[in-house]
């Protein structure tokens, strides 16, 4: 049973979100302030936190900061009426995992919550499976049906990322940012090269496929 904590001073919205997520099959608790949240977290271990930003006394940012100090892993999703880039940046800098702007679509919230949980699961396990493929992030190994396929660090990370978010398209620039850092001398072609190599190496794996979204980027699709 997955436990979710919802922190929002808007009682109506809080109740709505809790009801919906409960109907989705989670065990949800709603609290109206950061202080109440601390109390709740003291007694129960939560798998995910959904929090508002603008709350009286302790705001979402301060709350997230203090949570991160004791728990680096727990996924935090911000809900906020604030749409500006600065708020989003600030949130992500503090280490939150996702950001939604109110008014929110509950179905979308569910999608994102599930995605975050899935990712957290993968990260905690540091393992990923796709049919006969098993990737171990600690050992940096990829095995297909028990047989190891040799990959370089970058190749591993790239494939791991794509498979962690199946069906999500990543632009070449995004992949570049993540894995090549500030090495801006390398053009986006480098991404193409690595994808080709991956396709070659994993051509035997029929449980997934790396699809090209022409002109934009790549995505991993599970079969």
């Amino acid at each position: 049973m997955i436990h979710i904590l919802v922190v929002d001073d808007d009682a109506e919205l809080n109740r709505t979100v809790c009801t919906y997520l409960n109907d989705c099959g989670f065990a949800v608790r709603g609290v109206l302030s950061a202080q109440e949240a601390y109390d709740a977290m003291y007694n129960t271990l939560y798998d995910l936190i959904v929090s508002d930003i603008m709350m009286p006394q302790t705001d979402g940012f301060a709350f997230a900061r203090s949570v991160r100090q004791v728990n680096r892993r727990i996924p935090i999703l911000f809900l906020s009426a604030r749409d500006d880039l600065t708020s989003k940046q600030k949130g992500f800098q503090l280490g939150i995992d996702d950001y939604m702007v109110k008014p929110i679509e509950l179905a979308e919230l569910e999608m994102r919550v599930r995605a975050l949980l899935r990712r957290a699961n993968i990260e905690m396990q540091r393992r990923l499976t796709a049919g006969g493929l098993v990737m171990d992030a600690d050992a940096m190994t990829a095995e297909w049906n028990g047989e190891e396929i040799p990959v370089t660090t970058r190749e591993f990370n790239l494939l791991y990322k794509l498979l962690s978010y199946p069906k999500k398209t990543f632009t070449r620039a995004q992949l570049m940012d993540e894995f090549w850092g500030l090495d801006s001398e390398t053009g986006l072609r480098a991404v193409d090269v690595y994808i080709t190599r991956l396709r070659d190496k994993f051509s035997a794996c029929d449980s997934f496929e790396i699809k090209t979204v022409r002109g934009l980027g790549y995505k991993a699709v599970l079969r």
């Binding site: 500006d84 620039a173 022409r214 934009l216």
Partner: protein
């Protein structure tokens, strides 16, 4: 020297005025001649001197015409010209226009009085405009909360299950409408903030191609669902000078429109090129296209080119786009013909060499 307003048909040196002056002088001198005629023998005056006298009076007439013309220009033409310019600015939406009267109050002439009345009028228009934009933003804000309640309750109902197919459809209907309203309110508020200058673009140098790709990818589900072929032709990297948060809205609106108005199985393309310090981005679709009349109005608020499509758009997307571009040193052009889709091209400044990281 300002170009003369082409609407003014009267010349600077009106021939009619000259002729009138000449005739007047001729009359006056004739009368004078009559009066002193008894003491001067006209027949003894040589032709040469007569010609000189006539020439003299013609010169006089020219001088007189010029003098009156000049007086008119300074006292009436120029102030009226300024008034005309100011009126045009106000018509274009600038309510900060204020004209100073030419004379002090104790020596005010009709033009000064007109100027004062004009200033008053502009002030009143300005305050009405403020009321309007404030009203706009207050109302939009007030809509948000109940709308959120409607939408989320509809979603809760749907999630609770046990609905007949008909009920499900009805619920879908509520949700669709709610989503459209939400979108509309969002655009209204954004547009309003831009108009009131609560938000100002903060230009910076950033990778436009990365942004375009990221925006395009967000629509992937939609174009796949409707079997639309999406083509992207972007350079690897191109640095533009603009406010990235606002430009994102521009691309999202253009892409959303293109996909919305392209039939299933159609094609949408996104191309980016660079030339002479400017970057051009074109979003092309294979929808039903627009005739010239429609093209003239697409940026108007709430304009729906085709009444039938009124169910899809919200009429503010392009208004918002244009507003953002106006404030950002960028421009947008559209090419379209009925049955031939549409191509929207945005041109924005490239970051200078110095700015590229």
């Amino acid at each position: 020297m300002k170009e003369k307003d082409s609407r003014i048909k009267r010349a600077v040196f009106p021939a009619s005025a000259f002729v009138i002056a000449l005739v007047l002088f001729a009359l006056l001198t004739t009368v004078q001649m009559r009066m002193i005629g008894n003491y001067i023998d006209y027949r003894s005056i040589p032709i040469g001197v007569m010609v000189q006298v006539i020439a003299f009076w013609m010169a006089g007439a020219v001088f007189f015409t010029l003098l009156t013309s000049c007086q008119l220009r300074v006292n009436y033409d120029q102030p009226l010209e300024r008034l005309s310019d100011a009126a045009r600015k106000v018509a274009a939406g600038d309510f900060s226009v204020y004209l100073r009267p030419r004379h002090t109050p104790d020596k005010a002439d009709k033009i000064d009085v007109l100027t004062q009345d004009f200033n008053k009028m502009v002030e009143e228009l300005g305050s009405m405009e403020t009321l309007r934009t404030d009203f706009f933003s207050d109302v939009s804000h007030e809509f948000k909360t109940p709308l959120a309640v409607i939408c989320s309750n509809a979603e809760l109902l749907q999630k609770s299950g046990g609905l007949t197919e008909r009920q499900q459809e009805q619920l879908d209907g509520i949700q669709d409408a709610g989503r459209r309203l939400s979108h509309l309110i969002y655009n209204m508020l954004k547009l309003n903030k831009l108009e009131k200058q609560t938000i100002q673009p903060v230009p910076e140098s950033y990778d436009l191609c990365a942004q375009l790709a990221a925006c395009a990818v967000q629509f992937e589900d939609e174009w796949e669902r409707r079997n639309i072929e999406f083509d992207a032709e972007l350079e690897e990297r191109a640095f533009a000078r603009a406010d990235p948060g606002l430009m994102e809205l521009v691309w999202n609106n253009l892409l959303s429109n293109a996909i919305k108005f392209t039939p299933c199985g159609g094609r949408v393309s996104l191309t980016q090129t660079r030339q002479d310090g400017w970057i051009s981005v074109t979003v092309r679709d294979t929808g039903r296209g627009m005739d010239e009349e429609t093209q003239r109005h697409i940026y108007d608020k709430f304009y729906q080119g085709d009444a039938g499509r009124a169910t899809q758009g919200n009429g503010l997307g392009l208004t918002l786009v244009r507003r953002i571009l106006e404030l950002s040193d960028a421009e947008i052009t559209v090419q379209s013909a009925p049955g031939q889709g549409a191509a929207f091209t945005v041109r924005l400044p490239a970051a200078t060499e110095r700015e590229e990281p």
